[in-house]
Amino acid sequence: MSYCVNCGVKLKPSEDICPLCGTPVVNPNAPKETAVPAYPEKVEKIMHINFKNLSKLIVDFLLIIAAVSILCDLIMSHSLSWSRYVFFALIYLCCQVTFIINKNVYLSLAIDLLATEFLLFSFSLLSGYTRWFTSLAMPLAAAFWVYVTVCTMLFRRKGRNNMRAASICLFLISLFLIFLDILIHCYQSGAVAISWALYASLPIAIVSVIFFISSFSHRLLDEIKQRIFL
């Protein structure tokens, strides 16, 4: 039976270091006694979901659907018509499975962007019109992806201020709306112009600036949290 020289507590014989402060127990006079441990060695494990197997299962399932739809198409119309669209859509879904297996969210988001652009590109090739892809769909998807990535970055930061992150996301929505307006005008008439976006984005921008400023006041945030809670 020893005492911890740091904490002053008595330690049971089963302890070879003090559990409170980590100081080793030294008792030079006592013989080496084999103390009975207080707890067994065995550690119980909990069941883990095997995400690799789950994602393999999902991909297999999607490939089965693809095979069935191609088969149906060949049987019914003796050529690949609508099943090509189904096939590319299923490839897109397969790429989404990376979100399950990949720990790095940003890598999954990058794969997601490539998959989206590839899907839209394949649809534009299959339908024969490519102009809508190059001047409308591709930049729009890219802009939306940038928005989602920035929001993810803001909300994943530890010790973030929720109100501040929300205000920046709101401000980015107003920028996105302006970009959308310019893009549509470019596609329709080739000129750069802003019409309706100002009416939509200005109020959103003003509200986001108000939220941003008020996110610095902790007292206000506490008051809001007290009133709006479930």
């Binding site: 089963s14 302890e15 207080a38 067994p40 065995k42 550690v43 909990i46 069941m47 809670f229």
Partner: protein, 429 residues
């Protein structure tokens, strides 16, 4: 083997406190607690299994398994007896009901220790204590042939259970009007997280007469003294915490309270509520005397019958509310679970639960060395403290899901500095 002499219902609803536990259950987490009895000799597995078979008939409310209904979870009666298992280093990993014959408790043993772990939807600390003591009494009777004089903690396995034991006492004692109050958020100590299946346990053993003398010197009860010590410990941690997150939130302790002392009920299911006692550290540093003053006067006020009943009735009214009843269980589960994880127990810094002095029958006392009461992993708090006393000793068991034992170290150091000797045991993770 004692038979179920009385007809218990095939199925019963969960009691009011238990309705939240299945909703917050997940693969890694379930609200659990554990009660242990350390004997003077090594535990014999076969005798322990026989003792369990003998006493289970006396506790019909434990013969139920959890089932999911469309709107609420419920309990369905099951037959048989769970098998006694070997203990592990990391107790209170969530019970896999399929492995455990669908029972919501499990009996484990290691060396000289008998341990029973309960899922909180089944019973509370008092019910768990009675079960463990009855099991230990029957074990002692079978092994050593001593006839036990049964009392309010150790039941006679051959006696009949009354209907009140498996009824929901909350419904019986709730009145018409209730109110649930808004609590401000409390300071949460932090640390490096442990893996989700690991629980670090430190037990401190203190002589009860010295502790009682110290409490009497300060003019308070033992529970109030320990709560004040805990508040002082966490205040010390908060003052050392330089992060902005500490931001002078109040330090509050949750103290569960057994309602069977306030209302005459013999229910073996959940029948307890909680008090939240604390100090506002943003007004400055509190000395031990100031903390004791707050605790001594605040606790009896919060434990008054009207305040307690308003909370019980408020919770029962929530359950009775027509709108809440209509929401299907799978939606309710996600709503309750997400509210729990967002807010959950962040209204207090830690929990201190005390089942009090266990009145051991004189025939059992020589064979029992120690008792233990510990809570499982908490969702929002990093640690919790369970307290039980017998044979002239008080056993404090801290469980934590972080690596650093700062709260325990400061708490026991404060006890030692107050002149109270402490003996320590841990599960050496």
């Amino acid at each position: 083997m004692a038979e179920d002499k009385q007809k218990t219902p095939t199925w019963i609803k969960l009691d009011n406190a238990a309705t939240i536990y299945p909703a917050t259950m997940s693969r890694k987490y379930a609200a659990m607690f554990r009660m242990t009895a350390t004997l003077t000799e090594d535990v014999d597995r076969d005798i322990l299994q026989e003792a369990l078979d003998n006493i289970l008939g006396r506790f019909p409310s434990f013969r139920y398994s959890l089932k999911k209904g469309l709107f609420w979870c419920y309990l369905r009666r099951i037959e048989g007896t769970p098998k006694v298992q070997e203990d592990v280093r990391n107790p209170m990993v969530r019970i896999n009901f399929n492995d455990n014959s669908h029972f919501m408790f499990r009996v484990r043993y290691f060396g000289r220790r008998i341990a029973v772990e309960f899922f909180h939807a089944l019973t509370d600390g008092t019910g768990g204590l009675i079960f463990l003591m009855t099991l230990t009494g029957e074990y002692i009777r079978l092994k050593y042939g001593r006839e036990i004089s049964y009392n309010e903690v150790v039941f006679d396995p051959k006696s009949q259970a009354c209907e009140e034991e498996y009824r929901d006492a909350f419904q019986k004692y709730a009145r018409k009007v209730g109110g649930l109050d808004n609590e401000p958020l409390a300071y949460q100590p932090r640390g490096t997280a442990e893996s989700s299946h690991i629980l670090n346990i430190i037990t401190g053993i203190v002589p009860v007469d010295i502790l009682k003398a110290k409490s009497r010197e300060n003019g308070c009860t033992l529970t109030q003294f320990i709560v004040a010590m805990l508040i002082m410990t966490i205040q010390e941690l908060q003052e050392a915490d330089k992060s902005r997150r500490a931001r002078k939130r109040p330090v509050k302790i949750c103290v569960p309270m057994n309602l069977r002392k306030m209302y005459p009920s013999r229910t073996m299911r959940n029948f307890s509520t909680y008090l939240i006692i604390g100090i506002e550290t943003k007004y400055g540093h509190y000395s031990m005397d100031e903390i004791l003053n707050e605790v001594k006067h605040d606790m009896p006020l919060r434990a008054s019958e009207k305040v307690i009943n308003s909370r019980i009735t408020g919770n029962v009214n929530l359950e009775r509310s027509f709108l809440i009843k209509l929401i299907p269980m799978f939606i309710k589960k996600y709503i309750i679970s997400s509210i729990e994880s967002l807010k959950g127990a962040k209204y207090f810094s830690t929990t201190f639960t005390n089942v009090g002095l266990v009145n051991l029958p004189p025939e059992m006392a020589p064979y029992i060395d120690e008792l233990g009461f510990l809570l499982g992993r908490q969702r929002a708090n990093v640690n919790s403290c369970g307290c039980i006393s017998c044979n002239g000793k008080v056993f404090f068991t801290f469980t934590r899901k972080i690596k650093e034992p700062e709260i325990e170290r400061l708490f026991f150091r404060n006890l030692v500095e107050a002149g109270i000797p402490v003996e320590i045991e841990s599960n050496n993770n």
